[in-house]
Each structure stands twice: as structure tokens, then as C-alpha cells.
């Protein structure tokens, strides 16, 4: 006697058998069972009878498609429209006729008049609520269907400059981003390995990056997150004009994701989506949408085009990190105190190197190759500098500009980076470590290059090029675990030292 649970498990296989979709090996195994099980045999026979009815019903529908095809062709033949063009209403043709007018001001005036008249007429004669049919469910349904698409996405963290990029999504696994600096970044998450192509068209540099074992996975797509809000009770915000289109707004509140969606009042397609993430202190805005775009698939290739100098980077998913500048700035913010080596390179001069201990941005201790120790305290007014000559047991004290002030620290300059504008230099061996590089221009026009430890995300090497004076400053050999005693930064003269007061610098 058959086990009822086992028979229940075989129901899908029996469906496959009746539809002719079961593999030959499985057919044989299932037939053996059917020969011994009345229940399953009965199910197969009932299903087979039903299948005949289902097929004939669908066949009847299919036969009805033929006449529909004829009606479509007739309708198109009768239509005044041409492929690729909308049927043009008479009033649009009239407005279009304005283009034949010679003087631009006449065109403007006439267009404005027509707009005013149409707007006025619309307000008087059209039904008061144009959007009565648009429900949030319609908008969500449209969003759910919306792939492939393109849009402009802006991320705004509190107190930071917004970062904007153009997104082109072929699917949830393949996207292309165009950043404000003109660089292009293509992501392919569909395979076992994550592939990223970064193109820098101005310099014709391409970086082909493979992160082994990072896929397959899907992007956290904002439209997908909105679409998932199917059951949300959205507040109707009414209508407003956005870029010349009548839009209806909905506010779908949420603790983590608070959405405001503005959709075309006629089609339900989104025009603008705002996502407020309170816990992250950021707002993401998507607008300038294009839906159902017939993208050329080559746009999503992760192979560099001809004419580019290609650098290939490959790393393991376990150690790969891809911090953006904003993340980096956050990490660096908490890295004081630290110790590093500073090298200043200038044309025609020997390199100047010293070891720097930095307590904070106002207090530092420098150890020079000749043994001198220079202690800076910028937290006082005026600022102070004590130079110690240990061999000679003497010290020089001098004062500087009005304090308190802070150093132009290279680490601090990381804060001036705009998220999304840095160039990813890929991964290299820097000072014996796997480091990922970023290059960016600071607001003052200096070129900044960061190399970050691929495992710890801590800075390995920072370079700043003052392009206007031809000077390069390099910070390297970092120690971030230094437990620095505050007495090392004291500007009091040590016992046994002879003090000389020097004029202010």
C-alpha cells in the first residue's frame, strides 16, 4: 500500500508526466509507482481528462486570435498614424504650426497664449479630479513592471553635498552608472564572480575588476523596495505639476524607509521617488525616469572598449572592499591619534622627511632626520612651537599666528571629498599590503590619492599634489594603534635644556 504523503509529493511529477514535461528517467520511475498505486493512477487519469478539456479551451482562444490579427492590421491600415509617431491631435498640429513663424518672440508669445488658454480651459471644463482612477496600488504595479529603466539618482547625507549619478538598469543584476566627472561604471552581478568595469573616458583608462565568489546576487534596487510596499497604506498627497506633467503624490510612511512617490496622474508611472532613511541620515531621490528602454546590451559589457589602457584587478570576495569616499571619511574621522612619515617633494629641492606624531589637528610632534624634535601647539593664542635639540640640550621657543587654529591635515582633507567623484584605482601592493586606491580632486583643485588597506580599510598611503606650486606631500607608514602620551606634546621646556626665545615666525 502506498504512503499518502509520498503520493502527495508525486503530484507535481504526475502533472509533468501528463504535460509531457517529465524526463525519460523519471517517467520510468513514476510509471513503476503508478503500476502499484491506485490513488496516483486515478489522479493521472483525472488530470489527463482535464488536460484534454484545458487544451481544447485554450485552442478555442488561440483560434480567436486569428481574427484579432486581421482586425489589428485593418485598424492600423485605417489609422492616420505612422510607425514611430503618436497620432497628433488637431490642436497640437495648430501649435506645431507656430514653428513656421519667423520671429522667436512671436513663437514664445503665441505658445504662452495657447498654454494659458488650454490651462484655463482645462481648469474650467475638465472634470475636477483628473486622477480619480490612480490608486497607490496602480503605481506600485507600474513600478513592479518597470525594468529596464534609467533615472537620475541623488543621495544626500545630512550636512554633506549631494552626490548624483545617472543609473541605467538592464536588470537587478546588471547596471551602468555615469558619474558627474564623466566616468562610467558597469556592474554585472549575474555570475559567480562580481565584475566591475570602470571607464575614465577623458584619460582613456579602464579598470576591469573581478571579485571572485561575490555573486550571483541582486542589487538593492530602490524601485524593487518601493514595489514591495504593496500593502502599505499610503497617504494621498494630491496633485502637482512636475516638469510639466500632472503628478499625483503618495506618502508611504515607514520607520526604516519613508517613501514619497510622485506618479504620472494619467499612466501611474513614477516621475519622482524620494526615500528618507532617518536612521542613516540620508535621502535618496530618483527622477528623470525612462522606462522600458531598449538598451543596447553592449552598454552593460564589463570588457573595456578599444582604445583604452586596461588595468585588470582580481581579488577574493572575502577580502574585497569597495569603500567610497564618504565611508572613508567616516573611518578616518576617528583615527586620531596616529603616527606616520611625512615626505615633502618639490622640484629642484631634496626630499624633506620627518616622522609625525599627531595627537589631534592642533597638536603634533615632528622628529626630523637630524634628531631635532619640533612640537606644535595650535590650540593656544598665539600658536606655539618648541624646537628641541637633544644632542645640544637646548630648545628654541617661538610663537606664530593668532590661535587657536588647526592643521591642514591630509587625513582631514578626506572630508572634503565628494562621495561619488573619486576615481577607483583598483588594488595594488603598497608598502607590502594589498591596498585599494582612490584619486580625487579636492575643492581647492589639489589632487588627492588615497591607498586603503584592502582588509582593514585603514589608510596605507596618502598623497596630495599642490598643482599650483608643484609640491607633493606623502603620508606613509601609518600607525593607528599608537598610545601616545600627552606629555610628548607639551611645549614646556624639559629639565636640563637651555631655552632661547626666537622671534615670531
Amino acid at each position: 500500500m502506498s504512503d499518502p504523503e509520498e503520493c502527495q509529493d508525486r503530484r507535481e511529477s504526475i502533472v509533468a508526466l501528463v504535460l509531457g514535461e517529465l524526463d525519460a528517467i523519471d517517467v520510468e520511475e513514476l510509471n513503476q509507482h503508478l503500476n502499484t498505486c491506485d490513488v496516483c493512477r486515478g489522479f493521472r487519469e483525472a488530470l489527463a481528462d482535464e488536460e484534454t478539456t484545458v487544451r481544447s479551451a485554450f485552442d478555442a482562444i488561440a483560434r480567436g486570435v486569428g481574427p484579432i490579427e486581421h482586425r489589428i492590421v485593418e485598424r492600423i491600415d485605417d489609422s492616420e498614424t505612422q510607425p514611430g509617431s503618436q497620432a497628433v491631435p488637431r490642436w497640437v498640429q495648430l501649435v506645431g504650426g507656430l514653428r513656421t513663424m519667423k520671429r522667436p518672440y512671436k513663437i514664445l508669445a503665441a505658445t504662452a497664449s495657447v498654454t494659458v488658454v488650454l490651462t484655463g480651459l482645462g481648469a474650467w471644463f475638465l472634470p475636477g479630479d483628473h486622477t480619480a482612477g490612480i490608486a497607490f496600488a496602480d503605481v506600485l504595479e507600474q513600478i513592479r513592471l518597470s525594468r529596464p529603466y534609467a533615472c537620475v539618482s541623488t543621495t544626500q547625507y545630512e550636512g554633506r553635498r549631494p552626490s548624483t549619478r545617472r543609473l541605467m538598469l538592464l536588470s537587478l543584476t546588471r547596471r551602468r552608472e555615469i558619474w558627474p566627472d564623466g566616468s562610467i561604471h558597469v556592474f554585472d552581478l549575474s555570475g559567480q564572480d562580481l565584475k566591475i568595469l570602470s571607464l575614465y573616458p577623458k584619460r582613456k583608462i579602464a579598470i576591469e575588476e573581478t571579485i571572485l565568489g561575490a555573486g550571483p546576487r541582486r542589487d538593492p534596487d530602490l524601485l524593487a523596495i518601493v514595489a514591495a510596499k504593496r500593502e502599505a497604506k499610503a497617504e494621498d498627497l494630491g496633485t502637482r505639476q512636475i516638469n510639466g506633467r500632472l503628478a499625483q503624490g503618495f506618502h508611504a510612511p515607514g520607520k526604516a524607509n519613508d517613501f514619497t512617490v510622485w506618479a504620472d496622474a494619467r499612466t501611474g508611472l513614477p516621475i519622482r521617488i524620494e526615500l528618507r532613511q532617518e536612521s542613516l541620515g540620508r535621502t535618496i531621490t530618483m527622477h528623470a525616469f525612462e522606462f522600458d528602454v531598449d538598451f543596447d546590451e553592449s552598454l552593460f559589457s564589463t570588457t573595456a572598449p578599444d582604445g583604452y589602457t586596461v588595468r585588470k584587478v582580481q581579488q577574493d570576495a572575502g577580502t574585497a572592499t569597495r569603500p567610497v569616499a564618504a565611508d572613508l571619511a567616516e573611518r578616518i574621522r576617528g583615527l586620531h591619534p596616529y603616527v606616520c612619515t611625512r615626505t615633502v617633494q618639490e622640484k629642484g629641492k631634496p626630499d624633506r622627511t620627518c616622522r609625525i606624531m599627531r595627537l589631534n589637528l592642533s597638536r603634533r610632534r615632528e622628529i626630523l632626520p637630524d634628531g631635532r624634535i619640533v612640537i606644535w601647539n595650535l590650540s593656544r593664542d598665539p600658536t606655539q612651537c618648541l624646537t628641541l635639540f637633544p644632542k645640544e640640550k637646548r630648545a628654541t621657543e617661538t610663537t606664530g599666528s593668532k590661535g587657536p587654529s588647526k592643521d591642514p591635515d591630509l587625513l582631514k582633507m578626506a572630508f572634503t571629498l565628494q562621495d561619488g567623484t573619486e576615481e577607483d584605482l583598483g588594488v595594488r601592493q603598497i608598502e607590502g599590503r594589498n591596498a585599494r586606491g582612490f584619486r580625487s580632486m579636492s575643492w581647492s583643485g589639489n589632487e588627492l590619492t588615497f591607498w586603503i588597506d584592502a582588509e582593514t580599510d585603514l589608510p596605507v598611503r596618502l598623497e596630495i599634489v599642490h598643482t599650483n606650486v608643484g609640491r607633493k606631500i606623502i603620508l606613509s607608514d601609518f600607525e593607528f594603534t599608537a598610545d601616545l602620551d600627552e606629555s610628548l606634546f607639551s611645549t614646556a621646556v624639559p629639565d636640563g635644556y637651555t631655552l632661547r626665545i626666537a622671534p615670531p615666525w
Binding site: 503530484r11 507535481e12 502533472v15 509533468a16 504535460l19 514535461e21 483525472a46 488530470l47 482535464e50 484545458v54 481544447s56 479551451a57 485554450f58 478555442a60 482562444i61 488561440a62 480567436g64 486570435v65 484579432i68 490579427e69 482586425r71 489589428i72 492590421v73 485598424r75 492600423i76 489609422s79 498614424t81 505612422q82 510607425p83 514611430g84 509617431s85 503618436q86 480619480a132 482612477g133 490612480i134 490608486a135 496602480d138 504595479e141 507600474q142 513592471l145 537620475v152 548624483t164 549619478r165 545617472r166 541605467m168 555615469i178 558619474w179 558627474p180 564623466g182 566616468s183 562610467i184 573616458p201 516638469n243 499612466t267 527622477h287 528623470a288 522600458d292 531598449d294 538598451f295 543596447d296
Partner: protein
């Protein structure tokens, strides 16, 4: 519209198959894809007659927007996407005009009760299953074909087909009991 950075190059020459002078091209498109479009409309409406009307609307809309389709190989997914949108519009129009099933005209005498029963059962399936089953039966009963139409794997189609068909059986059986 705000444009950031370079935009992808678009071909300046319209493909010959969308050329208005190529009279047969669109007719061939209709013949090749009408059944699949019908399947999607059938899966997303509550009436076969509505589905037939919508198929016409889909192709008329497609004819007007044909310039947006550059790659003929993508015609089917493109048409099916238009079909889904037309179905949404149709449901919204129906809701906004206050039409409910009771307001619809009485069934004509030539209506096939088998089709009505099948359609009613189909309407109760999850949407993914509805489309898969309609496409399978209306378009040559091929999992590979359905996979290409929906842009998903053949294995996913097979899974949806078997589960959906089983649910359909349960619904049809329940209706007759």
C-alpha cells in the same frame, strides 16, 4: 530632463524592419506575437473579451511606439510589457468608471462555459503562474519559448508551470464538486 554625463549612442538610422515603407514587417510582427500577447492579456483581465480588445490596443500602441524598439529579437518581451501596462490601465479605467461585473452586458449565447470556467480558475492563480500557464498553452506549449518570452530560466518556467497547473486542477475540481 537632467542628463548627467555622456549618453549612450543611438543609431541614427531607423532599422529597416520598422521602416514605414516595409508594409509587411509589422503584420509579420502581429502574426508572430499575437498569441503571446493574448496570453498575457488573458492572464491579467477578468474577461476573455476584454483580453481580445486589449490585444488590439497593445498592437496599435506598439505600432505608434515602434521607433523605440531597435532590436527585433526583443520584440516579444517589449510587447508583453506593453500588454501588462495596458491591462493595468484597463483595470484602472474600469474601476474609475465604476464598472463592476454586474454592470457588464449579459453573456452572449455563443459563450463557451468551459472557457469561462477556465478563465475564472486562472484568475485565482498567482500572477506569475497565470502568465506562465497562458503562455504555455497559447504559444506552442514549450517551456523554452515561455522562458524566452518572460526572460527567466527554463527551470523556473517548468516549476511555475507544474505548480500552477496543479493549483488549476485543484480549482477546477473544487468548482465541479
Amino acid at each position: 530632463m537632467t542628463e548627467i554625463g555622456p549618453q549612450p549612442n543611438r543609431p541614427k538610422v531607423r532599422p529597416t524592419w520598422t521602416n514605414p515603407e516595409n508594409d509587411d514587417a509589422f503584420e509579420a510582427l502581429v502574426r508572430r506575437h499575437a498569441a503571446a500577447v493574448m496570453a498575457v492579456c488573458l492572464a491579467n483581465t477578468h474577461s476573455r473579451h476584454d483580453a481580445e480588445d486589449l490585444v488590439q490596443e497593445v498592437f496599435v500602441h506598439a505600432f505608434r511606439k515602434l521607433h523605440r524598439l531597435r532590436d527585433r529579437d526583443k520584440a516579444r518581451p517589449w510587447l508583453l510589457q506593453i500588454a501588462r501596462r495596458q491591462c493595468i490601465d484597463h483595470r484602472r479605467r474600469r474601476r474609475s468608471t465604476g464598472l463592476v461585473p454586474d454592470d457588464l452586458p449579459a453573456p452572449s449565447e455563443d459563450r463557451d462555459p468551459r472557457l469561462d470556467r477556465l478563465h475564472a480558475a486562472l484568475a485565482q492563480l498567482p500572477e506569475n503562474y497565470r502568465e506562465t500557464i497562458s503562455l504555455y498553452y497559447l504559444d506552442r506549449r514549450s517551456c523554452a519559448g515561455v522562458a524566452a518570452s518572460l526572460g527567466i530560466s527554463e527551470a523556473a518556467v517548468r516549476q511555475r508551470l507544474l505548480r500552477g497547473r496543479l493549483m488549476l486542477h485543484d480549482l477546477l475540481t473544487r468548482d465541479t464538486q
